[in-house]
Symmetry: C2
Subunit: 359 residues, 2 copies
């Protein structure tokens, strides 16, 4: 039996689902010779410790027996345990928590992150952390940074590391924006009403401008570009924000919501310009040769995979030398707690395959 | 530097391309701390050995310096070398060569196979070989068995091993049959003419009945089902062959070709039955709950991913509990020497990540 202890930071939507998935999959893990436990779960202020791993009562236990903590104390505690393989799971969206990564790795933790922040830091910091990982022979997995549970990061990394020349990456990287444009293209509704619909379905962030600004798509594009060992930074991504300047400036979300109909005219015009066979798509695109990273609104033929996209699916086209003009396409739910948490579990399994007696 | 020695069995289309890809990717490998060499290349009768790894002149060298061999001799030779990590690459399509797998593994070889045979043996033999692998702590990778370089086997295995309930797998598993039905649906041609076109493009086997019989699709379906730890055998797959009995009986390929127009009437009728929005697709389908494995001809809506398929692309829909009604879809060139060979290289890289000082 290979024993792996997970220290879970972040017990929001994804973190909670992750705990339940780990508990329910115990039998499947054992069949693979794996014993996977979560002895410590933490939110930003409180830690609950149960050495033999939390069970179904973790939620009540966390409330009843959770204690305030410092990350340093957690590291010290884990050290006293002499666990063989320890993984910090970052299921937060915190930019501060990432500051602990180096310390964790230097103290023997592998890291699996749903949190995108570490991979969108300035390139020097990104590179520095990779050196730390190498020096300490520790793994860092983050498949869910892009496309939730879809095998996008892994596929692009594998192609590149196998010597395949990836020439272009292109697609709808965001579930919320997928839903918004798929719906806007199909139904006779104002753009603002479609955004409201996406909000009601829980697809957007509390402030939908986070989605509409294109920043999240730009982050994902950057993460994929860096898998190809391209040394770009976030400011290298040319982003066409869907939020006009006068709405971007407003600090109150409510005031923005009250004025969101300002978007309608422009999008109605864009729609009117489409030919019968075209739809609008908001995409990320990396052209490796032309050295262009872009987030932009494009017209797409309905019969192409991107044009045929439905629901809140994400879609990634990977163009390479061997695949030629027809890309490798990966498509499916690119957001949601269940698929994201499962993607994190999948990273745990991959990590288990890679670690052994010597690391 | 982690040093990996590849012993390549089979230097046909895929094997040759593989050698060239390995030679060209040396720099990429070194950046990952890998030294990957091919010290021995073999066809069914001849072996060429170059301890430091073959170079660009491998083809001429093979002709000039190749010698007859027995697999046992190759194993003995490799043993004298004390190479740390040795991988047998099976780029043959041979059902006999597979008989050497156990012997190879027991003598310290990992195995990477493009050859599907080992994974479609009777279930007991399949299971027995997995026991051998476990006992000897050796890896066996075969991503290219299904969908060439597309990450299908890996994705399904990862989902299953992460505790995700895969409920259905469905798709066009064969590049040649994809091309045939995509073309037949779009163009006003006889079915036999479309098959001839596929042959001319090199998509089909020399005897196109190998494709049209559905056996190849059935094999791939079985391989995927077994990744879910389902203990099916090939005879459990219900196959609707596209070759009528009187044509299946003919032993000569030429005589079959002369009578292939016998297929036209039936397919013309099937086409006539389609509504305007439908196309024909020849698919493999596994329904886990209903315990059904089928290879069959279906009508598909044009706007669905399967219906929108183009060229010779393969497409795999993976339905799971977390993904719900919208499947995870993987699509792209599912055949061809370049993508298949690259898939084998990718398996080498994955294997390199998994092996370490202790195995």
């Amino acid at each position: 039996m290979k024993k792996i202890q997970l220290i879970l930071f972040g017990i929001g939507n994804v973190g909670s689902t992750f705990i339940n998935q780990i508990i329910q999959a115990q039998k499947v893990f054992q069949q693979q010779g794996l014993e996977i436990e979560i002895p410590i779960i933490l939110n930003s202020s409180t830690a609950f410790i149960k050495d033999e791993g939390v069970d179904e009562n973790w939620k009540a236990n966390f409330v009843d027996f959770g204690l305030p903590y410092q990350v340093e104390e957690i590291i010290d505690y884990v050290k006293t345990k002499n666990w063989q393989h320890v993984v910090a799971i970052d299921a937060t969206a915190s930019s501060e928590f990432v500051n602990n990564y180096t310390n964790l790795v230097e103290n023997g933790f592998h890291i699996i992150a749903a949190n995108k922040v570490a991979n969108t830091l300035a390139y020097d910091d990104y590179e520095f952390f990779r050196e730390i990982l190498k020096e300490n022979k520790k793994q860092f997995l983050y498949e869910t940074n892009v496309g939730a549970g879809l095998p996008v990061v892994e596929t692009i990394k594998n192609l590149h590391q196998s010597g395949e020349k990836v020439t272009k990456i292109r697609g709808v990287f965001s579930g919320s924006l997928s839903y918004i444009f798929n719906t806007f293209s199909e139904e006779n509704k104002n753009f603002s009403d479609v955004v409201a619909l996406a909000e009601a379905k829980g697809f957007t962030e509390p402030d939908p401008r986070v989605d509409l600004s294109g920043t999240d798509v730009a982050r994902k594009l950057l993460i994929l570009a860096r898998e190809l060992q391209l040394t770009y930074n976030l400011e290298d991504v040319k982003v066409k924000s869907l939020v006009p300047a006068h709405l971007a400036e407003i600090s109150s979300v409510t005031t923005f919501q009250e004025n969101i109909t300002d978007l309608d005219e422009e999008f109605q015009l864009l729609k009117a310009e489409l030919s019968e066979n075209e739809v609008l798509r908001y995409i990320g695109e990396l052209d490796v040769e032309k050295k262009i990273l872009e987030v932009k609104l494009v017209k797409e033929q309905k019969e192409n995979p991107l044009g045929a996209l439905q629901g809140a699916d994400s879609l990634f086209e990977i163009y390479t030398e061997s695949y030629g003009n027809q890309p490798l396409v990966i498509q499916g739910a690119g957001a949601g707690a269940a698929v994201t948490a499962r993607g994190v579990v999948s990273d745990v399994i991959k990590l288990a395959e890679r670690i052994d007696c010597c690391n």
